[in-house]
């Protein structure tokens, strides 16, 4: 405990240097901006900025990226409340009640409960990360390749089979991602795979390219093709302020949302969709003002899910830092940022790069305060971003896409591949394929393959190694359960 406290203080000392504070601030500001802008999310923004990992030192860039990740959640709620097109999946629920509140002239209260709720949930979740991450890391040191492979299998299963509406389309997306991850050199033997004689493919396909292609270029092409006539109506912003009753109705919802969101973020069941919907359902059930839900907009329906969202997002750092397993798209891209530095995320991270980890955690506390200031008094400034005409916004995104993809390895060939991935993105969005499994698959795929082959080497080529070790067998049972149980429940319902 004392140990954790000392390390956290050390982290604050690193994070509070002027240059790191500046990175945190820029990250929070950029994050809020992209969160507000429709069509850009934290994942694609971090991806576009990955080339800076070649120049900026790891602690600064991780603080910067974490600020973007966080900031986008704050900014995303502003858009869901004021505009009827939610940006991120996590803020979809906020749009349900928040947009109705804003329509009835209570935009200010909705924005206030979202920002303060995000701050409270983010801070509590950061305290929990501080307390639990070292414990999980200590435990995780004892895990071997079979257990890691099973954990990764669990992450694959949940991200593809549980989150989407269709297991089949989720699996298809995951295996497309795994196929992309296969291109290049095999990690263990150095064997060249699927390069088709193209020298650019030997180093594999950069995650920047796929993320930017799927999300930024795909989104732009989709908009040109289908969304031209869709009109978004902007609600009027009024004074950001909550009355006493609104405070009293908000705070229990914030706490419940945090309690629901945090556990979901820590388990490899990723994403903030499930906890936000769950929190919404809970608030709706417990509320004394049920008549406001879906009609004039209930403040609990904004406060709970917003808190759940931020708690879940913060909690994704636990599996990312302690196990090296990303449970959301942005976490996956953060993992590849660490890989660019040659830093292996996992339990050893707390020993080998403890300065970086604790500075990152300390910066989350600082970032939350910065974001509260950026989003409460200054919200009017961000709302102006929503006035950028759509053609200029999306055409501008293409310029940043070029920076990210070309800047990563100075290859114009990558820009052509990016266009191809963009077309794939249009197809996937049009025919309701989830895109998150593609990114998680391509980043986690090579790692999982290496763990699997190492595990089999330990077991001298016998697959029994995965069931003979108790931890690994338990994890395998969970994977099977996750796949089978929902189906059984559905069968029983009939």
């Amino acid at each position: 405990m004392i140990d954790t406290w000392n390390q956290l203080l050390g982290g604050f000392a690193t994070a509070a240097t002027p240059i790191n504070l500046l990175w945190a601030f820029i990250g929070c500001a950029v994050g809020t901006g992209v969160g507000v802008l429709p069509g850009l999310g934290p994942a694609v923004t971090v991806a576009m900025l990955l080339p800076i990992t070649a120049q900026v030192e790891p602690t600064a860039s991780m603080i910067f990226f974490a600020g973007i990740y966080y900031g986008a959640m704050y900014g995303g709620s502003t858009t869901s409340i004021l505009l009827n097109t939610p940006g991120e999946t996590g803020t979809m629920v906020t749009a349900l009640e928040g947009f109705k509140m804003a329509k009835n002239g209570r935009a200010g209260a909705a924005l206030a409960t979202a920002a303060i709720g995000s701050f409270i949930a983010g801070t509590i979740a950061t305290v929990l990360v501080t307390l639990f991450a070292p414990i999980v890391a200590n435990f995780a040191v004892r895990l071997g390749p079979p257990e890691y492979f099973m954990l990764m299998l669990l992450a694959f299963t949940t991200v593809s089979a549980v989150l989407g509406k269709s297991t089949l389309r989720g699996m298809t997306a995951l295996f497309i991602g795994l196929a992309i991850g296969l291109i290049g050199l095999d990690q263990i033997t150095g064997q060249v795979r699927y390069t088709m004689g193209i020298p650019e493919f030997i180093d594999g396909i950069e995650v920047v390219l796929v993320a930017v292609g799927l999300f930024a270029v795909g989104e732009t092409l989709y908009n040109a093709l289908y969304e031209g006539r869709s009109v978004a109506t902007l609600n009027r912003l009024n004074k950001v302020h909550m009355t006493g009753t609104e405070w009293r109705r908000s705070w229990p919802a914030w706490l419940r949302g945090t309690a629901i969101g945090f556990p979901f973020g820590t388990v490899p069941a990723g994403g903030s969709e499930i906890p936000t919907f769950l929190s919404y359902a809970v608030e709706r059930k417990l509320s004394k003002h049920k008549e406001e839900f879906g009609t004039s907009g209930a403040i609990e329906g904004v406060a709970g899910p917003e808190a759940a969202n931020n708690a879940a997002v913060t909690a994704t750092l636990v599996p990312l830092l302690t196990l090296g397993i990303p449970t959301s798209v942005t976490a996956a891209i953060l993992l590849s940022a660490l890989q660019n530095y040659g830093i292996q995320a996992g339990p050893q991270l707390f020993q080998t790069s403890s300065a970086l980890v604790w500075a990152l955690i300390a910066s989350l506390y600082i970032g939350n305060v910065m974001l509260l200031v950026l989003n409460l008094p200054l919200v009017g400034m961000w709302v102006k971003l929503l006035k950028i005409p759509k053609p200029h916004l999306y055409a501008g995104i293409l310029i940043f896409a070029t920076v990210g993809v070309y800047g990563m390895r100075q290859s114009a060939f990558d820009l052509f591949v990016m266009y191809g991935i963009g077309l794939l993105g249009v197809l996937m969005r049009r025919y309701d394929f989830p895109t998150a499994p593609v990114i998680v698959g391509m980043i986690l795929g090579p790692l999982a393959e290496a763990q699997m082959r190492n595990a089999l080497s330990i077991g001298e080529g016998k697959w029994g190694v995965f069931v003979e070790r108790p931890m690994s067998a338990v994890l395998l049972a969970i994977v099977v359960g996750v796949l089978v149980l929902p189906r059984l429940m559905r069968l029983r319902k009939r």
């Binding site: 080339p51 800076i52 070649a54 120049q55 900026v56 509406k165 269709s166 089949l168 389309r169 699996m171 298809t172 295996f175 497309i176 296969l182 095999d186 263990i188 033997t189 064997q191 795979r193 699927y194 732009t220 092409l221 908009n223 040109a224 093709l225 289908y226 969304e227 031209g228 006539r229 869709s230 759509k390 053609p391 200029h392 999306y394 501008g396 293409l398 310029i399 940043f400 070029t402 920076v403 070309y406 800047g407 100075q410 114009a412 820009l415 052509f416 990016m418 266009y419 963009g422 197809l427 969005r429 025919y431 309701d432 699997m452 082959r453 190492n454 089999l456 080497s457 001298e460 080529g461």
Partner: protein, 171 residues
């Protein structure tokens, strides 16, 4: 119900078939990879075969579902029912021209051109007039005004390599 979805179902059939083709290509590629199994008993060609096999199953199921009543649990896509293909062509031209020209005419000019072409397509898809020569010139200037500061910020401040047309580092 099935009538309204029939054009979609033929698309679904194509996507299922396309997935099968990808699976076949991956399998063909997997035959080229030596097994070199070593102690593990599985080598670099193991995962490629697994991926090819699972994608084949997925493709087969997608195809089968498409032929038997359409895909399950599909959420209707957002936006218009029909695609605005001329707008897509403009935006595609923007991205591809940029990919083609970025190393020869430099980041700033190439991205300004990309911006001007894309803005034109995106304006068309909103049903607004794309504008004449004058508008195209204005778009190009706006593109320059975005691309140039971006170029300076990333090359000067963050030392990321982006192509310039001159050696001065300013354009």
């Amino acid at each position: 119900m099935s009538d309204a979805y029939s054009p979609n179902r033929s698309h679904q059939t194509w996507i299922g078939a396309g997935t099968l083709v990808v699976a076949a290509l991956l399998a063909a590629g997997a035959t080229q990879i030596p097994s070199a199994a070593g102690y593990a008993g599985v080598g670099p060609n193991f995962l490629p075969w697994v991926v090819a096999a699972v994608l084949a199953v997925c493709g087969g199921l997608l195809l089968w579902h498409a032929r038997s009543g359409g895909w399950r649990d599909v959420e209707a896509p957002s936006g218009a029912a029909g695609g605005d293909w001329p707008a897509l062509a403009w935006v595609s031209a923007a991205v591809l021209a940029n990919a083609l020209l970025v190393t020869t005419i430099g980041f700033v000019l190439s991205c300004a051109l990309c911006f001007a072409l894309a803005v034109r397509g995106l304006r068309l898809c909103e049903g607004r007039p794309a504008g004449g020569i004058r508008q195209a010139f204005v778009d190009l200037l706006v593109g320059l005004a975005i691309a140039a500061p971006v170029f300076w910020m990333f090359t000067k401040l963050l030392a990321i390599n982006l192509p310039g047309i001159t050696a001065s580092g300013w354009i």
